[in-house]
């Protein structure tokens, strides 16, 4: 059966003023549950390793149905507090980004990382770009690097 698909509305850049319209916030987060919470912090960086100060990072945890958006600040810095989950899906929104920049954050101290189906798809040498580095029991570090030698792996989705 032939289907007539409608043409997709194309992407355009979010521009440098996205913080006017894309407010930081969260949805589906239950603050009252006694869940193990962690803070992930880092920087959103471009190909020259310069911070992207007018970007947004959106975090989706399907296991918890929890969503959180943060805006990057000085030097592209961000931090987000989340309940711990196996992984965190991340979308990057920013000036000059013309498609879905989608990646995942895994925690480098998590067990069974080598059995994750998605991590297995990533070349050995680049897998580390998806691992948040443990700083202490509840803090991790994760940079999102859009281009260049240490570029974060982004998935077509």
């Amino acid at each position: 059966m032939a289907e007539v698909k409608q043409g997709l509305t194309p992407f355009q850049t979010a521009g440098p003023f996205l913080s006017i319209g894309l407010r930081a916030g969260q949805a589906g987060v239950d603050e009252n549950t006694a869940v193990d919470r962690v803070v992930i912090s880092g920087c959103l960086l471009d190909g020259a390793r310069e911070g992207i100060e007018d970007g947004a990072l959106e975090f989706w945890q399907p296991e918890l149905r929890a969503f959180c958006r943060v805006l990057t600040g000085l030097d592209g810095g961000y931090h987000v507090e989340l309940a711990r989950s196996t992984y965190v899906a991340v979308l990057v929104v920013g000036r000059g980004i013309l498609t879905r920049y989608y990646t995942r954050i895994y925690f480098d101290d998590a067990p069974d990382l080598d059995r994750d189906a998605v991590l297995q798809l990533v070349a050995d040498g680049r897998r580390k770009t998806l691992l948040a580095r443990k700083i202490d029991d509840c803090r991790y570090h994760f940079d999102v690097i859009l281009q260049g030698a240490d570029e974060t792996v982004f998935f077509d989705v």
């Binding site: 850049t13 003023f17 319209g21 989706w60 296991e63 149905r65």
Partner: protein, 198 residues
């Protein structure tokens, strides 16, 4: 290429209580009315198969009628409007329809090249049903002479795709003595679409 797992086929659901009653109306967020041409933007959000995308969050932002954004990084030689912040949000209804009331933004000088002006535009952000349907785009206005000159608009190689971003004036959406109507329909990816099946 990532096979779609739970993460990609699911996405945040925002309850209607996330939206205030006047969030969709950028002309009524301050004491007075903003300067400029009041417009009503209406449309339907559907997926590629024509199904309505229901209860999805739409966030919009734009410059004021003079072409100035209410943002510290915008120091354009144009006045700020004390009655306009330029941000709004709404949700689609059970038929995928939405409505935004605002003022028509002015073109915005952006120094990308000599005498560079962005055509008048409203930024749109939508989630759709899941991560894979997320869209960030811009709505333009039919008849804008700056469109053929804009590198961002023309970065879309396909002419038909470009035209989907140009909202036509619509007399049927226009309210007498009140506001001009523009129609902007949006088509998101289908939820089950996996690119390699195309």
């Amino acid at each position: 290429m990532l096979p779609h797992t739970l993460a990609e086929l699911s996405g945040p659901v925002f309850g209607r209580d996330a939206i205030g009653p006047l969030d969709h109306d950028l002309t009524r967020q301050f004491q007075g009315a903003p300067l400029g041409q009041r417009i009503i933007i209406k449309g339907r959000v559907r997926d590629e198969d024509g199904r309505p995308v229901r209860n999805t969050l739409i966030e919009v932002w734009q410059a004021n009628a003079a072409g100035r954004y209410r943002h510290p990084a915008d120091q354009t030689n144009a006045p700020l409007d004390p009655n306009f912040a330029g941000a709004g949000r709404t949700m689609t209804d059970e038929e995928g329809r939405y409505c935004i009331v605002t003022i028509k933004p002015g073109p915005y000088p952006w120094r990308n090249h000599h005498n560079a002006w962005r055509p008048a535009h409203v930024h749109f952000s939508l989630f759709g049903e899941c991560l894979a349907t997320r869209l960030v785009t811009q709505m333009y206005f039919e008849g804008d002479p700056l469109l053929p000159l804009d590198p961002i608009f023309n970065s879309i190689p396909d002419a038909a795709a470009r035209q989907r971003l140009v909202a036509p004036f619509d007399l049927s959406l226009t309210e007498p003595e009140f506001a001009h109507g523009y129609r902007f329909d949006i088509v998101l990816r289908g939820r089950e679409e996996t690119p390699w099946q195309k």
